[in-house]
């Protein structure tokens, strides 16, 4: 059939992982299958390391553990803690490069991809790795100092994006308004999530702080874990309160924002 084997990688805080995160994978897989060109063979959740410095970020070991609990019954999405174990914050493209290398190196071994070997057989195409994200992610390219231009180029040119967004046109506009993104528009797959489902991790942390129920927004096993370890309190939300987000600190002199409209 000649479909390209595809793995979807999602980077993020996963603080905590939610049903909404897992929905992104499901929506993306359906979409990419329906293009007729791809066979999604795996998904990877890669929680960011603690040195990211985001406000309210609880220790990576917990975020990884919760993601593993959540994806326990998934069948195709796994959790990878490589990024979380790095000594410093890792740029997105570095994480992508790491996983692609792993993927290509493992090509003969389907077991690692948790798919029957037959799904890789018959495909003469080498597997691809694309970044799975939400529409907000595309807007981050415009934040001064956050991205290096060459990284954006590599991200959308060499890897590609699968971007899940609501029925609005936010993602389309972001692609339209950036020459770099526009040039690689065929490698940016926009997936529509028609129903509003805005229950974010931020909202969930807020509910947890206030002793409100979050049942049915994330798996019971994750809720139990949060309770057992008493994560997500007013105190935990104060973490990194005055810190500078690591990517902004690291890039040194602010580079040109992606102001190529």
């Amino acid at each position: 059939m000649g479909r390209i084997p595809l793995v979807l990688l999602a980077c993020g805080s996963f603080n905590p992982i939610t049903n909404q995160h897992m929905r992104l994978f499901e929506l993306a897989r359906d979409h990419m299958h329906h293009t007729g060109r791809f066979q999604v063979v795996g998904g990877i959740v890669s929680p960011v390391s603690d040195s990211y410095g985001k406000r309210g970020l609880v220790p990576a070991q917990h975020r990884v553990a919760m993601a593993r609990l959540a994806l326990h019954g998934s069948g195709w999405v796994t959790v990878d803690d490589w990024e979380s174990r790095q000594p410093d914050w890792t740029e997105t493209v570095v994480t992508l490069r790491h996983h692609l290398q792993k993927l290509l190196g493992q090509q003969p071994s389907a077991a690692d991809l948790q798919m029957p070997h037959s799904s890789l057989e018959g495909s003469s195409e080498p597997p691809q790795l694309k970044l799975l994200c939400g529409a907000d992610f595309l807007d981050t390219f415009r934040v001064p100092g956050l991205w290096r231009a060459e990284h954006v180029e590599e991200l959308v040119g060499r890897f590609g994006l699968v971007c899940v967004s609501r029925g609005d046109l936010q993602a389309d506009r972001a692609v339209h308004e950036s020459d770099t993104l526009f040039r690689h528009r065929h490698n940016i797959f926009l997936v529509r999530e028609w129903v509003r489902n805005e229950t974010s991790a931020t909202e969930i942390r807020r509910a947890l702080r206030r002793g409100l129920s979050v049942k049915y927004l994330l798996p019971d096993a994750v809720i139990d874990y949060v309770r057992e370890h008493q994560l997500y309190t007013w105190q935990s939300e104060q973490r990194n309160k005055d810190a500078v987000l690591r990517p902004l600190g690291q890039q040194g002199a602010p580079s040109e924002p992606l102001n190529d409209s």
Binding site: N19, Q20, M22, R23, E26, L27, R29, D30, G73, W194, V195, R196, N197, E198, T199, S200, E203, L212, S213, K215, Y216, L217, D220
Partner: protein, 285 residues
């Protein structure tokens, strides 16, 4: 302040549950948090009551499946149950009738005359208070009697849990009888979860029927939009799209094993008039 005794509440949710989704379940959780946060209430039970097949809604699959899926959905809940009475009735039951049925059950249990059990098991209904209620009903004093009973008993109060769309539907001609709305908001009470697009307060303000009972209508603001509807889930299933994480896994497995929700099942009752509209034909609400 904490000397005041808290009123015990049971929340009843009627609807198609075609199928039950995480959104339905969230409604219970949001309602309980809101009501208990007032400090006046203790929510002791939630009841999901899937509508009977006689409702004749387009795409409505058999009640037995909808009841079974709801049961699977609440397996992990410590306080939400499923009641199949409404689903087992051959004819469609008006919402206030379902409320009455569950109120009578609650009462008879409070009287201690009922067999110990849950609403899940079929059991004999002790008709002592039910008879006195039906007698009063015959004399047109039913609403007063209900109100009186509600306040007299130490037992739990029963309220209807619903989305703002149900409240909005009170305005649809022919769908509700005024006296039924009166009974629901007067004798029982409403817990209404809003979707931010609909201004519930303005709606109540503008309704002479609802305004007198505004203190019996609890509006729960859902700050974060969660529009995952059963309609959306059915559409996705028809198209072979994943609905994982929109509804509990055991419900999803049930659907997949039996291949419920196809293009064919969506045609059920196509062209048939919805039962409440049939029944109230000629009533101008």
């Amino acid at each position: 302040m904490d000397c005041a005794k808290k009123t015990k509440l049971v929340l009843l949710s009627c609807g198609s549950f075609n199928p039950v989704t995480n959104m339905h379940l969230r409604m219970f959780e949001l309602a309980r948090d809101h009501l208990e946060d007032t400090g006046h209430y203790e929510v002791v039970k939630g009841i999901i009551s899937p509508v009977g097949d006689g409702y004749k809604k387009k795409g409505l699959i058999e009640a037995c499946h909808r009841v079974e899926m709801a049961k699977l959905a609440v397996e992990s809940s410590s306080w939400i149950e499923v009641d199949s009475w409404e689903g087992r009735q051959a004819d469609w039951q008006e919402t206030n009738k379902v409320l009455r049925h569950h109120w009578e059950e609650l009462l008879s249990r409070e009287q201690g005359t009922d067999v110990v059990g849950t609403v899940k098991a079929g059991r004999k209904r002790k008709r002592i208070d039910a008879v006195s209620i039906s007698n009063k009903r015959k004399h047109g004093k039913m609403e007063v009697a209900h109100k009186g009973l509600m306040h007299k008993t130490d037992g739990p109060h029963l309220m209807l849990l619903c989305g703002a769309d149900v409240l909005e539907s009170f305005g649809v001609p022919g769908l509700w009888k005024n006296e039924d709305i009166e009974e629901i908001v007067g004798s029982y009470g409403l817990v209404c979860i809003t979707r931010s697009s609909f201004d519930v307060d303005a709606f109540i303000q503008g309704s002479d029927l609802l305004w007198p009972h505004r203190h019996n209508i609890h509006v729960v603001r859902e700050w974060v939009a969660n529009d995952v509807s059963a309609t959306h889930v059915r559409r996705a299933l028809r198209r072979g799209h994943s609905v994982r994480y929109l509804l509990p896994d055991p419900v999803l497995s049930y659907i997949q094993e039996r291949r419920l929700y196809t293009a064919e099942s969506e045609q059920t009752n196509a062209g048939v008039v919805l039962a409440p509209l049939q029944k109230h034909a000629g009533n101008h609400g």
